[in-house]
């Protein structure tokens, strides 16, 4: 009897409210949710009624939607999709063994929400800008690469690419460091995604106080006016998926 876990929350924070809320959610969504509590932690779960060999995108989105609805009302640790356990005892065990870590992270994310902030090169800008710089780079040929031999020409081509790449990295790092300084005024919880395509100048997730949303929006507006040539996108509020990473026992 597989049990699907959706979220973990702090029982001490409005304990009665959550059972009402879950009842209501069960009614609305036609999924029978249950609450499993231990060590002042509560897990929101449901029993997987049908066994599936394949998963559809709709299943994943339904799951994410439920986590989102719970997160709108309560401070929760969202579970990753596929968090399935085989018995109630496993859940209790999980909560007991990791109570301290769960409480620590729950405290951190309490009354906060996650947002994604991305700043991307617009293709046109990218091409225009770095082609311009590439012609600059062409002009400054290192002495050692002066000459007509095929080998030197090859190296020169590589060298020019290298210079453009360096300029590009510098350009990105420069913007990043400025943005970090400003973001730090809003929150200390900022994570940069480094595994991105070259088009990304910034791909960050941040965790902010619910009350700081206005401040964030104002900041993003300013960002766009500072860099009108780039694409800017802010999504959220999300459950704190990126700030709920815990090493579980």
């Amino acid at each position: 009897m597989p049990i699907i876990m959706y979220a973990i929350l702090d029982t001490r924070v409005n304990n009665e409210d959550i059972s009402h809320f879950i009842e209501h959610l069960s009614f609305e969504s036609n999924i029978q949710f249950e609450l499993i509590s231990s060590h002042e932690l509560t897990a929101v779960v449901s029993i997987q009624t049908e066994s599936k060999s394949a998963i559809s995108q709709a299943d994943v989105l339904t799951y994410a939607g439920i986590v989102d609805i719970i997160a709108q009302k309560h401070s929760i640790l969202p579970m990753r999709y596929g968090s399935v356990v085989s018995s109630y005892a496993d859940i209790t065990n999980l909560l007991d063994k990791n109570a301290e870590s769960f409480h620590r992270v729950l405290k951190k994310i309490s009354n906060k929400e996650e947002y994604s902030l991305r700043l991307l090169f617009s293709h046109q800008h990218q091409d225009a800008d770095f082609n311009k710089e590439s012609s600059d780079a062409t002009q400054s040929v290192p002495d050692i690469l002066q000459g007509k031999s095929e080998n030197k020409q090859y190296l020169l081509k590589k060298y020019q690419k290298h210079i453009i790449e360096e300029q590009r990295i510098q350009y990105i790092e420069n913007i990043q460091s400025k943005v970090i300084i400003d973001l730090k005024k809003i929150t200390e919880y900022i994570e940069f995604n480094k595994k991105v395509t070259p088009a990304f100048i910034i791909d960050a997730v941040i965790l902010i106080e619910k009350s700081a949303k206005g401040e964030l929006l104002a900041f993003v507006g300013q960002l766009k006016s500072k860099y009108p040539e780039h694409n800017v996108i802010l999504t959220g509020p999300w459950p704190p998926y990126n700030f709920a990473q815990i090493k579980l026992e």
Binding site: L120, P142, N151, K152, H162, V220, V232, P237
Partner: protein, 114 residues
Amino acid sequence: MQEDKILFYAGSANEIIEELEKIKPGDQGRINATPENVDSGLAKLVLTLIELIRKLMEKQAMRRIDGDSLTEEQIENLGETLMKLENKMDELKKIFNLTDKDLNLNLGPLGDLL
């Protein structure tokens, strides 16, 4: 709930979507070695490592050029070697039907190899 998550966006939506598609979690970079495709799986692994070393060499060479510490003769040798290496690499990629995109490994939390 799911449609109202965009709080601010300015720029080309198509460009944004295109880039987001690229970083979507997927199974690119995974080496699926099965008895049927073990040859190309192995070739992919070996070529990925060669490509990594080749790129490192190239980077190092550019640093040396920047540092201006190479002699005329060394420059000629360097250019020839790197050029031949790149051509050889292109040949091998063609033989094993691999693209640049295939020659990468997803190292999980460490990001991509190349």
